[in-house]
Symmetry: C2
């Protein structure tokens, strides 16, 4: 496929977890343009925790970037660029909810916003949960809320849950549940 | 809920479509931290186009931020901060694929990455499509590919489709289809 060519990358600002670059892009007709590139240094992991009664456990927190609260699956950045995302997912689950998962299986691999950023989030499905103690990072203030799957898909349809990793993960899990149901009915 | 308080926001770099800020955040214990904030100036819209034969139409393009090709639903930024996302979705569909939709209904409202960015994408389901002429923006080089829904969900499970707006939209559409099937079987 014919495509654009990057001929320069300039670091414009080093943030706390991100670096902001401007790329010089040469189009196939020879013209040049400046494109933004946001480097997420470490990548992230997230986890969809399903409780024994079938409810899904979510975290409610205030998000500075949106200036409001959101309802999300537990998630966080990796400690280092070499950390296994499964280890990161297990850690974030325990830190944010206090639960440990005996069963942690890959659900989705996501790139959050491909037009300008390399951030990835590996999402795991957590089942067979054991209750422990929540121990949040400094600056984290989180409420735990558990919902039926049907309630969550209704909230997505109403726009009450919009976070892309959370929407994709809930729908992926519902998909598994519906397919099992169809298999049983057939 | 107890939460963090922003006491300053400083513009660090004005990009082409983004602005990069550093926020000074006061934690409830009085300590301060610097947090990154990426402002996506215009917001975006996307569209999941379903062809008459039931296949879903996707665009394959090279993504500079990932340094590889991706398979995505058609999408693009709004022309202005006041543009209706439905108008934007119809425009992007026609520009990128050549198709016009007689039926365009809301499917999802997404925030792509809430930890540091305010970008939103409103996604519409496009049906009853009429073929026209593709007319790409400068710097856009796009191949069109149509897939069965089952092929797409398999590609998501295998990690071959990872773009979050695309994953969420395909799964949302498949859930509608599965629910209809269950309704018919019951």
């Amino acid at each position: 496929m014919q495509h654009v060519k990057r001929i320069n990358r300039e670091l414009c600002f080093e943030g706390s977890i991100l670096d902001f670059y401007q790329d010089t892009i040469e189009l196939p007709d020879g013209k040049c343009e400046k494109w933004d590139f946001v480097c997420h240094r470490k990548g992230a992991a997230a986890v969809l925790p399903v409780l024994e009664d079938g409810k899904v456990l979510l975290v409610r927190q205030y998000r500075n970037a949106l200036e409001r609260e959101t309802l999300e699956i537990p998630a966080g950045s990796r400690d280092s660029v070499t950390e296994d995302t499964k280890v990161c997912a297990a850690r974030e689950l325990e830190e944010e909810t206090g639960y440990k998962a005996n069963q942690l299986t890959p659900l989705l691999s996501l790139k959050t916003t491909v037009a300008f950023c390399n951030e990835f989030i590996d999402v795991y499905l957590a089942r067979d949960l054991k209750k422990g103690v929540q121990h949040l990072d400094e600056g984290e203030f989180i409420d735990l809320e558990a919902y039926e799957l049907e309630e969550l898909t209704a909230m997505i349809a109403e726009g009450k849950i919009q976070d892309s990793k959370t929407v994709a993960s809930i729908l992926a899990y519902q998909n598994l549940v519906l397919k099992e149901l169809i298999h049983k009915m057939a």
